[in-house]
Symmetry: C3
Subunit: 256 residues, 3 copies
C-alpha cells in the first residue's frame, strides 16, 4: 500500500541508511541523515529549512540526524538542525522545529508542536497536541498529556524568553500550563488544568491555578490500587526495565 | 479545480461506490469501502494501516466503511478498522484512529483527534481540536467544543485505561476536561474550562475545577431568551427533527 | 530543495505577481491573487472552495488576495473569500476559513484555526494553536498565545452566534478563553487559563475563572524589570516603530 516511490523527493545530499523505507509524497532535504531501519511514512518533510533559506542564496541546510529504528508517521515535519535518537516514534502532523535535541526512544504524538531549541531526554512520551516552547528542557522518562504546554515569555511580548524544565520521571497532565522559567522536580505529578507558576520540589503532587503542592506523591493512595507513585515499579511498557523491573535495571547500572 | 485525478492512489482492493469523487493527492488503501455519493477531498488518507503493517509481511488491512453521502475535507486520516455512518462530515486534518465506530450524520471538526477504539453515536458534532481518548464512548446528539478532551488514564502512566461516557444530548464546552472513567448523564451542559472528576447526573449544569453541579439545567435562564435547555426544542439544524420540531419527531417514533 | 514545480496546480484563473515562489504539491485555485514577492511553501492550498462548490455546478470561487511580501509555510489552507494584507507570515498547517480579513504584517502560527468571517487588524501575532471563532474581531497589535480561544455561542448549540472583540495592544495568554460576545479593551493582559465572561476595561490585568480585573496593568511590577506595560516602549520586533521607538512613531503620525 505504501512505499511506492510516488512523488518522492530525496536530496542528493541526504544520507539514507540500510533498510530505510520512505513513504510517498515525502521530501528529504539536504544534509539529512536517516539511520538504518527507519520508516518515514508518507507526506513527511525532513530537514525543513530555516527562515534564512528563503532569503540567502548561499544558505546551507544544517544537518539532521534521525536515529536508527525510528518511525515517523505521516505529515510530520522535522526542521533542519535537529538531532533525534534511535527508536523514536512520531504520531501524525508532528512539527519539530530547528535545533531540537531528542534522546533515545522517545515518542511525540499527533499534532504536537516542539518550537525549537528544545532539549528532550530519553524515553519521554509526549501525547497528542503538546506544545513545548523554545528553550524548554525536559529530563528522562517524562510524560506529557494532551493540550499541556510549556511557555517561555514572562511578560509578553518580550525578548526575555526563558523556558522551564521538567525533571526525570515527572508527569504533566492534560491542559496543564508550565509558566516561563518554572522548574518542576523529579517524580512529580502535575494535575489536569493546573497552572504552575513556581518551582515544584521532587516527589510533589501539584495542582490548581495557581498550582499548589497538595501532598508528597509517595503518600498518594488510589483505592484498590495502593500507592501508584513512583510509577516505575508498576509500569514498564517501552521502558529500559521492561520485563526485568525497575529495581533490577537500576541494580544493573541503569543502562539505557 | 479539484478532482483531477492528480497523484491519486486507489488500491485495487478498495470498493468505491457510485458518484464518488476523490481529490488529488489522496490515498485509499486496501479494504476501504466508500459508499455512494461521497466526496473525499484532496490529500486524504483512508484506511491508514495499523502499526503491525510496518513489521508483518502478511498484514491484512482491516476494513473501513465510509457511509453514503459523506464528505471528508482535506488532509483527513481515517485508520483501518473504522466504521463511519452516512452523512458524515469532517473538517481538515482530522485524525480518526483504528476501530472507531461513528453513527449516522456526525461531524468532526478541523484538527480533531479520535484516538481509536472510540464509539460515537448519531448526530454528534465535534468542533475543532477535540481530543477523544481510547475506549471513550459518546451517545447521540452530543456536542463537543474546541480543546475539550476526554481522558482515560487514572494514574498516569498506567495500563488501566478507562474512557468516560457522555450521555445523549449533552454539551461539552471549550477547554473542558472529562477525567478517566467519568460518566456524564443526558442533557447536561459542562461549562468552559471545567474539570469533571465525578459522574454527573442527567440535566445538570456542571462547571468549575473540580466541576460541581450548580443547577438543574432546566432551570437555567438566559435573560431575554428564557430557558434554553433542553435545547432540542429551539435548535434543529442538521438534526432529524429539522423543520418538524423535536416534539413531532418524537411523537412519530424518533426515526433517525 | 524547494520550488521545483513538482506536482503543482495553479489555476488559469489565478493571478500571480512578480517574484512569487510556489512550493511543490501546492494548489492555487480560481480567482486567487498572490501579490509580488510572496513565498508560498509546499503543500499549501490557496482559495479552498466553500461548501457550495461540492454541490453547485455554477459555483464561482470568491476571490482571495495575499498581499505582497507574504510567506505561507507548508500545509496551510486559505479559503476563498479571504483578504490578507502584505507582509503576512503563517506557520505550518494553518487554516483560515472564508471571508476572513487580515490587515498588514500579521503572523498566524502553526495549527491555528481561524473559523471564518473574522476580522483581524494590523501587526497582530497569533502563536500556535489559537482558535478564533466566527464573527470575532481583533484590533491592531494584538497577541494571542497557544491554546487560547475566542468563542461565539452563548448557549450551545444555538444560531445566535456572537464573536467577541479584543482591543488594540492587548495580550491573550495561553489557554485563555474569551466567552461569546465579550469585549476586551485596549492594552489588557488576560492571564493564562482565564475564562473571560464579562467585558474588560482598557488597561486591565484580568485573570481567573471567571476572570476578574486584578489591577491596572500600568501598575504591574516585575521585579528587576520595572513596569512592563504598556509594552510598546520596550518591544519593537516586527512593529512599525522598530528601531525608532513607539513615542517617535506616534509623534510622526503613527503611519503603518
Amino acid at each position: 500500500m505504501k512505499f511506492n516511490g510516488r512523488n518522492l523527493y530525496v536530496s542528493g545530499k541526504a544520507k539514507i541508511g540500510r533498510n530505510v523505507r520512505i513513504g510517498d509524497n515525502s521530501s528529504i532535504y539536504d544534509n539529512v541523515q536517516i539511520d538504518d531501519n527507519c520508516t518515514i511514512c508518507d507526506n513527511c518533510v525532513i530537514g525543513e529549512p530555516l527562515a534564512s533559506y528563503y532569503q540567502d542564496p548561499d544558505y546551507q541546510n544544517p544537518p539532521v540526524v534521525i536515529g536508527p529504528g525510528s518511525i515517523l508517521r505521516s505529515h510530520s515535519i522535522i526542521y533542519a538542525g535537529c538531532s533525534i535518537g534511535g527508536g523514536f516514534s512520531s504520531g501524525h502532523r508532528v512539527t519539530i522545529r530547528e535545533n531540537t535535541t531528542i534522546g533515545e526512544r522517545c515518542s511525540i504524538g499527533t499534532l504536537s508542536d516542539i518550537q525549537g531549541n528544545v532539549r528532550i531526554g530519553n524515553y519521554c512520551k509526549l501525547h497528542s497536541n503538546v506544545h513545548i516552547s523554545q528553550t524548554s528542557s525536559i529530563g528522562d522518562f517524562v510524560f506529557f498529556y494532551p493540550f499541556s504546554v510549556m511557555t517561555n515569555d514572562p511578560y509578553p511580548p518580550s525578548m526575555d524568553i526563558k523556558g522551564g524544565h521538567i525533571g526525570n520521571y515527572s508527569q504533566v497532565s492534560v491542559h496543564a500550563v508550565i509558566l516561563p522559567g518554572v522548574s518542576v522536580g523529579e517524580n512529580c505529578l502535575i494535575g489536569a488544568n493546573s497552572v504552575v507558576s513556581k518551582n515544584v520540589p521532587d516527589f510533589s503532587l501539584a495542582m490548581g491555578d495557581p498550582a499548589k503542592v497538595v501532598m508528597d506523591i509517595r503518600k498518594y493512595v488510589v483505592i484498590g490500587k495502593g500507592k501508584p507513585y513512583p510509577w516505575m515499579n508498576r509500569f514498564d511498557r517501552g521502558m529500559p526495565w521492561e520485563g526485568i523491573g525497575y529495581g533490577v535495571w537500576m541494580a544493573q547500572g541503569a543502562r539505557k
